[in-house]
């Protein structure tokens, strides 16, 4: 895409518009000057001269031919006005709804609920409330929980860890289950705050009471306590990392993640994940549709997208195995199988290579190993 050609084409439009405007202005100015002139002559003239004066004005107007001049200016502007949309059509995808499946209608209530939920989880409570009221949807069940989450995060912004710690402590069993180190992260921050502001004794007491329990994470707790030796000169210590605002950012991120997870929600908004995925998918689909323009492409009824779309790896939520030989996706009927050499194929491919078990061994297509069929194992990713 060439954004510059779009800019240039628009500049042309804007220039011609200015030109056309000043032309019109000039003409109007000229007409009113002529009439003014005629009027002032008329004031002086004898009662019967006015006809010849009027005839002069008329003649003058015919010579100027203002309407023709206006038309000429418009014509030039029109050329630019017609060109610009053509440039847009050339540089951009004119109709992205070509990739849209018309026979699928979304339920407005579901879409509205998704949107309301999006506003609440982004902390946009005013907008969310306004949306719910305007659409007449029933109140969002997650509003209260997200409100609590944002209160905790707001407090953390003001370096108040109390609400965050309270939440982490009351959910500590569940956090342990998902192996989250949120509580340690929060305790560490708390410890550093105490160590920075007050005397070391208090920090040591805090560490004994709250940090010693994290014996699993010995390296961090050691470093934390050791940082006390540099006390107020942490900048020059080996532990300057403890001053980094990233520690707070990470704690905020982890809290958001865990809070959403316990709510049964993803840590990133599902709506923005889906729209971002859509942004990456549409160009691929549109390109495919364009290439296939002459072939019958039943986009409306296909079971699977006709092309693969490479989404970023953070949007890869499940393991997908595609047999490198048959290029087919594995399924319950056709599971992935590992051969003795460690290479993995799908079951149907292995069956084919062993002539449906009539051969007891075959050569791996990826290495020189002779594969013993009885030693092929099904994998679960």
């Amino acid at each position: 895409m060439d954004l510059k050609s779009i800019k240039d084409a628009f500049d042309r439009v804007a220039n011609k518009q200015k030109l056309s405007y000043s032309k019109t202005h000039e003409i109007v100015q000229m007409l009113s000057q002529e009439i003014d002139k005629a009027l002032s002559i008329l004031q002086e003239a004898s009662p019967f001269d006015h006809r010849s004066i009027l005839a002069d004005v008329k003649k003058m107007f015919t010579e100027i031919s203002p309407v023709n001049q206006l038309e000429a200016a418009e014509k030039e502007l029109n050329v630019a006005l017609t060109k610009y949309p053509k440039v847009l059509e050339k540089q951009l995808n004119t109709d992205i709804s070509k990739a849209y499946r018309n026979n699928v209608e979304f339920d407005t209530h579901i879409v509205n609920q998704i949107i309301a939920n999006f506003f609440y989880r982004q902390g946009m409570f005013d907008i969310g409330d306004c949306f719910v009221a305007e659409t007449g949807e029933s109140e969002c069940s997650t509003r209260k929980s997200f409100k609590e989450m944002y209160q905790i995060l707001e407090a953390m912004k003001g370096r108040d860890l109390e609400p965050a710690l309270n939440w982490a402590v009351s959910n500590s069993d569940k956090l342990k289950q998902v192996r989250s180190d949120l509580e340690l992260k929060l305790r560490s921050l708390h410890f550093l705050e105490i160590a920075e502001g007050k005397n070391s004794q208090e920090a040591i007491n805090y560490a004994r009471k709250h940090i010693a329990v994290f014996a699993d994470s010995l390296p961090e707790t050691q470093k934390l306590v050791c940082s006390l030796l540099w006390n107020k000169n942490l900048v020059k210590s080996p532990y300057s990392e403890f001053l980094s605002p990233a520690l707070w950012d990470n704690a905020v991120k982890e809290l958001t993640r865990q809070y959403c997870n316990l709510l049964g929600e993803s840590s990133e908004s599902p709506l923005s994940i889906t729209i971002t995925a859509g942004t990456q998918t549409l160009p691929v689909l549109l390109k495919y549709i364009n290439v296939m323009a002459n072939k019958k492409l039943d986009l409306q009824n296909m079971e699977q997208l006709p092309v693969a779309v490479a989404l970023p790896k953070e949007y890869q939520f499940h393991s997908v195995f595609v047999c490198p030989v048959s290029k087919e996706q594995s399924s319950d009927d056709n599971p992935p199988m590992m051969m003795s050499c460690g290479h993995v194929l799908c079951k149907q491919t292995i069956n084919r290579m062993s002539k449906n078990g009539s051969k007891s061994s075959f050569k791996c297509p990826y290495c020189p190993t002779d594969v013993d069929i009885s030693r092929c194992r099904q994998l679960h990713f």
Partner: protein, 417 residues
């Protein structure tokens, strides 16, 4: 720096972790750059709509100025050709002067409006220009808000649309005023009033003619039907006059429809003949609303569907896997949410052309950096996650899905290409 139990255990790890701050950031991979460019190509509507608005204003202003100027010229001609007294001539000319004065004012105002609209067109081009691999997350956030405002405008949720665009500073990037214009017509049609729709057709006459639109004809037919529906001697008379004046001109191009509708004169609105009954259905007004929306979108270069629906469909399909519908699917997958599942159900599944493995335990990708390891029971997890588990449990591994226990030394590496 993050406190990570695996990497921060010794000073070496800290050293290597802080290294990237010295080395220059790696060049942006070209694939991400081209992906960005491709996604910007989806923004036709963003640039087209304000331009169509701008063009419409320019044309309307120009027509108005031209009319005024030619009327001034012809008034002067008139005065010159007729034998008026001096007093009359002076007073006529004086009124022409004030008329031209008014025209100058209009010119000024018109130019101000046009400049504002040109600015809006520019703001959008600049917005596309500002997209960069570095700020793409933020840019995409803005994009989502734009898409949501577009959805709300099409659904007539004007209050939230304005609030959202003001609070997120995207007023220049959304088309609230244009949709307000449409709303007037839609509301009137819902009240069974075609006047503003007809006025809209007149305003956009040239464009509608060019696209061979028959929307105005359909409005006229509906007005005719309403006269027949009234079912009085007077209204029948009016209906015939109306048909002569407003329907007959369409005869050349739409004779069949014209005959069909005019024949209702012979049937009453209570007719049981299905072919005619349908013309009297109140639902016909909804059809007109729908048709207006289509004409309106076409005129401004918008998609017929809300952008949100188009993006949702594509995104849901790309994310749709059979695993998303399974019990215990990770909450990070949008398709684990019931609402997203419902929307995705009728859509096609994604297609994969090569394997992508994700560790069940850590949710991290399993690739050459973190290769998959197979337990004796055939379950596969990432090396990193298994190593961490073994370190904490004296070399023992417990399969989280089956409870199977084995030793770290029992693992075999799998090669998945």
């Amino acid at each position: 720096m993050e406190i990570d139990p695996v990497t921060n255990g010794n000073a070496d790890a800290v050293m290597t972790e802080s290294a990237p701050t010295i080395t220059p950031s790696p060049p942006v991979p070209s694939s991400r750059l081209s992906q960005l460019t491709e996604s910007l190509k989806l923004e036709h509507q963003l640039l087209r709509v304000p331009f169509e608005h701008y063009r419409k204003t320019i044309r309307a202003n120009h027509r108005c100025f031209e009319k005024e100027v030619s009327s001034v010229v012809s008034t002067v001609g008139d005065l010159a050709d007729n034998d008026w007294s001096k007093d009359v001539t002076v007073s006529r000319l004086t009124s022409l002067v004030s008329r031209l004065q008014g025209l100058k004012r209009k010119l000024e105002e018109g130019s101000n409006v046009e400049n504002l609209q040109a600015q809006r067109c520019r703001a959008r081009i600049d917005h596309l220009d500002s997209a960069d691999v570095k700020n793409i997350t933020e840019w995409n956030n803005t994009k989502l808000k734009r898409i949501l405002v577009d959805y709300m405008l099409r659904m007539s949720y004007f209050e939230t649309a304005s609030k959202l665009s003001e609070s997120t500073n995207i007023s220049d990037l959304v088309d609230i005023d244009i949709f307000r214009e449409a709303k007037k017509v839609i509301d009137a049609l819902k009240n069974r009033d075609v006047a503003s729709a007809l006025a809209w057709c007149a305003e956009n006459k040239t464009r509608l003619k060019k696209s061979k639109s028959k929307f105005e004809f359909q409005l006229r037919l509906q007005e005719f039907i309403e006269l027949v529906r009234a079912d009085t001697a007077e209204s029948y008379k009016q209906a015939i006059l109306y048909a002569r004046k407003h329907l007959a001109p369409w005869g050349a191009t739409h004779m069949n429809e014209l005959q069909h509708v005019v024949a209702t004169l012979a049937f009453k609105s209570t007719t049981e003949c299905t072919k005619y009954k349908i013309l009297f259905e109140i639902r016909q007004w909804d059809v007109l609303v729908h048709q207006f929306k289509q004409e309106f979108c076409k005129l401004y270069g918008m998609t017929m569907e809300p952008l949100l629906n188009i993006y949702l469909q594509a995104g849901l399909s790309a994310l749709k896997t059979p695993y998303g519908f399974e019990e215990g699917c990770t909450k990070e997958d949008p398709l684990s949410q019931e609402s997203f599942r419902k929307l995705a159900r009728p859509l096609p599944y994604s297609k994969q052309d090569h394997s992508k493995l994700v560790c069940y335990i850590s949710k991290e990708p399993m690739d050459t950096d973190n290769p998959p390891q197979v337990l004796p029971n055939g379950y596969v997890y990432s090396t990193k996650a298994l190593k961490e588990m073994a370190e904490k449990n004296g070399g023992n591994i417990t399969c989280p899905r089956t409870g199977f226990v084995c030793n770290y030394t029992d693992l075999v590496k799998a090669y998945v290409s």
